[in-house]
Structure formats: C-alpha cells, structure tokens
C-alpha cells in the first residue's frame, strides 16, 4: 500500500490504521530513494520471495533493482560478512537476520568484525551497517525464536542497539540508524508488527536521534523505564496506575545502547522510585546496568530500591500459559508500580 493511500485511509477512518510494519517499509523506501549507496540483503527479502516473510521489505527490489536488494541463501555469516565488506568501501547495507536468535550463528561477524573494525584499523575503516532483526514472544514460537538478546550487544563496544515501540519511532529510528556511521542492531517486535497505532505515516524528514529516550507520559511518583513491546505494556500499566492516583513517568528507552542516562537520571531524581521492565531474562539483562548506574548516581537520593522486571530465568516456553507467565505484562508492571509507590 503506498503511503499516500495509507494516509488517505487513515484520514477517512476514526481508528488508527498505520502499523510499525508500514512505517518500516516506508522508511526503507524513502531512504533507498534518497541515497543510492544503500543496499539490502537477507533471506526472502526481495519481491520474487514476497518482499520479506512479513513484507517489511516489499517493493524494494522492484523499485531499486536486484543489484541493490537481494535475497540470500540461508547463510547468516555470509549475509553479515557481505554487509560488512560492502560497508568498508562506501555502501550502507541494511542486512536482515530474520529472527534475533539467529544472530547466534553470526556473532563472530557482528562482534569480532562489525563492532571492532573501526577501532582495530585505527579509524581507517568503518562499518555503517544496519542489522534488522525480529523477535518477541506471544506467538508460541518457543525457545529458539523469541529471545531478546540486546544485553549481549550493549556489552560490546562499537555497536549500537535500538528497538522502536511506535510507528513514528520505527520510522525515525530506522532512518537514523541507516544514516549512522557505525553498526546498529535494529530490533523489531514481531508479534506487534500489525498493531495499528498511528493515523499517518511519518514524513520523509522525520528522524528520531539514536541515544535519546522518549518520555511518553510525564509523572511525579514513579518512573517506569522500558522499550519494545514492554513499552506498550507499560503504557497500559501507567494509565491504570493513574486511575489509582499514582502518577507515572513512562520512559521508552528506544535506544538500548547507548542508553539515555540524562533522561533516565533526571526522571529518577524527580520520582525517586524506578521500575525497569524488559522482555529479556531479568538476570544480567539491560536493566542490570541501568539499575546499577541509577543506584550509584543517585545514592541516598532514591525513595525505594530500583525494581527490575524481566523474563523468567528459563528458555521461552511454548505452552500458552507458560509463555504468558514468562514475560512481564501490564498487570505485573502495575503491581510493581503500586508496590514501589507505597
């Protein structure tokens, strides 16, 4: 669906019609149109293969040609390697690793090479690539298809990590990630691809700077920090908390690495009560670093210990009740808000 069509439909209808998927697709089309140095590669990515298994890249190969937009064999090391190589000589490849768990077969290319070549070459080369990858629980895909692994990449110097939770941020972050001079892991939450939450597709000038969190709701009692699907759950929890008279400041981190210390510390200073939520396993997750920094920087100033919610300490289970129990949800986030507000 072209963006003008979508926008007209959006204007006509009362309900939002724009999805994250549509925003990502437009971001890619706009970026490819503006910069001939952009390339894209990944499994089933080109139009003869359906333009991506969920259509995020639909239309790209038809519009920009098979030289620039290519479906690949199932060879993630070859995919990331090809992206790295082309990026060393002036191209800006957007590579897709279909699901985040599959980054495990390409960690050498991502960590030992993409993240380190600028440093190891003393700045002679750089790797301006974007690695798009989908993940997230909710569809019963089980233990090998739904992990959030952002903490691994945040621990590696030389690579950035982002994850949008709205169509606007999906567009603005992807454009910024593509324009960034360094490698970026771009995480897309698969189960919410089709949630229509906006009325209009962002304009081609829209950008969201990397490293800048969004205060999606201002509040004074409790700070809730989250990202990706957990930001959706946190928005719901924050609204419910308001009904109970608890004023929540809701921060969507948007960039996991480097995360926005300034915004986080300012809010934590204001509320003195912080809840951090992510879908990834709680232990050694992104929340650990954020909690450690807040506890150190605001030592003696917090009203309550920083509270972390995360995935249970197990692989992601298949069975519906187990899958629902594994990741935090609005209800448990609300409970944490209420507890910490006491």
């Amino acid at each position: 669906m072209s963006d003008t069509e979508t926008q007209t439909i959006a204007k006509q209808s009362a309900r939002p019609t724009v999805t994250i998927l549509a925003a990502l697709n437009k971001a890619l089309h706009d970026a490819f149109a503006e910069d001939a140095k952009l390339l894209a590669l990944g499994e089933d990515l080109a139009d003869p293969e359906g333009g991506g298994i969920l259509g995020v890249t639909a239309g790209l190969s038809t519009t920009f040609g098979d030289d620039r937009v290519r479906s690949t064999p199932i060879s993630e090391q070859a995919i990331i390697g090809a992206a790295i190589g082309a990026s060393l000589v002036g191209y800006k490849p957007v590579a897709e690793i279909m699901l985040m768990n599959f980054t495990t077969v390409a960690m050498d290319m991502i960590v030992n090479h993409a993240a380190k070549l600028r440093f190891m070459s003393g700045g002679q080369t750089s790797v301006p690539i974007v690695i798009r990858t989908m993940t997230g629980s909710g569809f019963g895909s089980g233990g090998q298809h739904t992990d959030y692994l952002e903490a691994w990449f945040a621990h590696v110097a030389g690579i950035k990590v982002v994850a949008p939770s709205t169509p606007e941020d999906a567009y603005g972050l992807l454009r910024s990630a593509i324009e960034d001079a360094d490698p970026v892991i771009f995480i897309e939450n698969l189960p919410t691809y089709h949630n229509a939450t906006s009325f209009e597709l962002p304009d081609s000038s829209h950008r969201v700077p990397l490293g800048k969190a969004a205060v999606q709701r201002e509040g004074t009692d409790v700070t809730v920090i989250s990202y990706a699907r957990m930001a959706d759950e946190s928005r719901v929890a924050a609204a419910k908390a308001a009904e109970q008279g608890i004023s929540v400041e809701m921060i969507d981190l948007r960039t996991m690495a480097p995360w926005d210390r300034e915004t986080v510390l300012a809010s934590a200073t204001k509320t003195g009560r912080v809840v951090i939520v992510h879908e990834a396993v709680k232990e050694h997750g992104l929340g650990a670093e954020i909690a450690a920094v807040i506890s150190e920087e605001l030592f003696g100033k917090l009203k309550k210990p920083v509270k972390r919610l995360g995935g249970a300490f197990s692989a992601v289970p298949y069975s519906r009740p187990l899958e629902l129990a594994h990741a935090p949800d609005a209800e448990r986030i609300l409970q944490a808000i209420v507890d910490i507000a006491k």
């Binding site: 003869p48 300490f313 197990s314 009740p321």
Partner: protein, 330 residues
C-alpha cells in the same frame, strides 16, 4: 546405484505405506484442527514428503538415533513417536512429551531415539554427529540420522558436520529433504552447483540424489547408507527430491512465490496414494485391507487429539523446573 540386496520386499513396501499413511493422516488432521480453531500453533506442513522418513525408518531400528527440524513431525512419527504425547505437546499440555515446554518445534522422544528437534536451520547436523560418536565409542552398530532441508545445505553448521563425520568415519546419515523451497526462496536461487549430493565428494563421502517420493529408490538408498554406517564405513549424504504441498508455514500464501503449475503438478503426483495404488496393483494388499488400516489410523489420531485436548495445562511454577537438574528457587 542400489544393488538388489537393498530393494524392498513386499512386506517392507507395506511397512513403508503403513507409516506413510499415518504421516499423511496426521498432517491432514493437524491442519484441520488448526482451521477448526480447536488448536492454535505455528505449524510446518510436511504433506508430500511422507515417503522419505517412511522408507528410511523401515531401514532403521528403534535404538537408532534421529535428529530433525521444525518440519519434522513426519520424521518422528515414522520413527515411532507415540501419538498421545505428540498431540499433547502440540496442544501445550503437561501430558506432552516435553510437558508443553518445547512445542511443535522441539518435540523429543528418546525411547524411540528421537533425540533433538531444532528450530535452527542446519543445527541438527553437528548434534547428530555427537550421537554417532557415542555409538562409535559404545562399539554398538547404531546409526544416527540427521534430517535437514535443501536450504540448510548452505549454512556453515552442515558443512562442518559433514567434514567431521567424514574424517571421523562416523555412522551419520545426512538426509537432505530437498523440497525445492526454503521458506519463499527457490532451490535454484540459493544453491551454487544446483545440487546438494554432489558436495559429498568434496568431503570424501558418498552422496546420492534420489527420488524421495519413490519408496523403492528411497528405501534402497537408505538401506545401503545404513549398512555402510553399521559396518563402520562412515557417513553418507542422501539428497531426497520431494515437494511440500502446503507452503512453508501453514497459512502462508505460497502463490506469492510459487508457480501454480509447479504445485499442481507435484500434488497430482502425490506419493502416498501412488504407493497405495501400487500395493493393490502388485497384489501386496487389497483395497479393503488398506482401508481398514487407514480407519485404524484415524481412530488412533482421534484418541490422541481427544487425550491432548482433555489434558491439563502446565502452570507458571513449572518454569522453575528443567532449567537445571535442580529446580530454580521460588
């Protein structure tokens, strides 16, 4: 290439059909149960590929090992995975073989040698070698069958595994089920050399491309590979040509990437009814006998589905168990 000793006799052909009929009926039921809304799951139909594991399993013993992939329920049923724990796992119940923790993509049943089902393309291969290594150290003559797809042939793990199996002379049988598609991408588009079996020579192991839908050819090739493996002569790569009738994931619109004629032609040559007709025309079985067999299969599936849907769901506390040998503290 198959010498006479490996040509299946009448009893074996009937055995192969018995398995194939079960596989076919179970795939049809799975799709029906999803469409009817009785059960929601991500399902990878194997309809059209039944002859491959049916013929291979006819050449195996219960104590031989099998590793397979997300599209692998045919491999499991052919090897003897019982229907009740299978369906209960698909339904995510505590009575499932994996207590509902694994699901369709990680079905496991060690009593029949079904050791690993992986959702990661190619990852069945390195693990299958380990099972083969164990058989070698045991001085048993067990073999380890490793199933993967045509697309998986291009991933690193499969290459490393075939080379190691060759240098260690492991009793691993690499079964590439070539259904001409990887998700939405054609075999031609992703395969240098347009052939998987030819790669075996590069590792110094035999490789053969067979019509995986032909029970005689398929059984002969499998039996020969099994005999080599049991005799300590090392691994074999079997590229089994076939086709999948219902797309990558049940529900995906394969018209988007697959020519209708190609699919129609493949479905006209549905290997299961063809084998059925052959058994009758060759006088190996009568229509009545086969109808009875098929009716029994439907009954067994009915029983398993009812058992599954009547079983209890796991509870949140179960997450603390099976992470490590000792449960995680509450």
């Amino acid at each position: 290439m198959a010498t006479n000793q490996f040509i299946p006799d009448s009893a074996t052909l009937l055995d192969i059909y018995r398995r194939a009929a079960l596989l076919k009926a179970n795939d049809e039921r799975a799709r029906k149960v999803i469409v009817s809304g009785q059960l929601a799951m991500v399902y990878y139909p194997y309809r059209g590929q039944e002859i491959i594991p049916s013929a291979i399993s006819a050449a195996l013993r219960d104590d031989d090992y099998v590793c397979t992939i997300y599209r692998g329920i045919h491999d499991m049923l052919a090897k003897g995975f019982p229907l009740r724990p299978l369906w209960a796992e698909l339904a995510g119940r505590v009575t499932g073989s994996c207590k509902g923790k694994g699901g369709p993509m990680h079905l496991t049943y060690p009593p029949k040698g079904i050791m690993v089902t992986t959702g990661i393309v190619g990852s069945s291969a390195p693990i299958a070698n380990g099972l083969a290594w164990a058989a070698q150290v045991d001085k048993s003559d067990r073999v380890s069958v490793c199933n993967f797809g045509d697309g998986a042939a291009n991933i690193g793990a499969v290459h490393e595994a075939m080379n190691l199996a060759s240098v260690w002379k492991l009793p691993t049988i690499f079964v590439c089920q070539n259904n001409l598609y990887s998700e939405h991408t054609t075999f031609e588009k992703m395969t240098g050399g347009q052939n998987v079996s030819n790669r075996a020579a590069g590792y110094g192991m035999p490789g053969v491309r067979v019509n995986g839908n032909d029970p005689v050819e398929m059984y002969a090739a499998a039996a020969e590979a099994v005999a080599r493996a049991r005799a300590g002569e090392g691994p074999t790569l079997l590229e089994c040509m076939t086709f999948r009738f219902y797309g990558h994931i049940f529900g995906d619109d394969d018209a988007k990437y697959m020519p209708n004629e190609q699919k129609a032609k493949a479905m006209e040559n549905d290997p299961v009814p063809i084998l059925r007709a052959r058994l009758i025309s060759d006088g190996i079985a009568t229509d009545e006998e086969l109808a009875k067999l098929e009716a029994e299969i439907e009954e067994q599936i009915n029983d398993a589905v009812q058992f599954a849907l009547a079983s209890d769901w796991p509870v949140a506390d179960d997450l603390r168990f099976d992470v490590f040998e000792k449960e995680i503290a509450a």
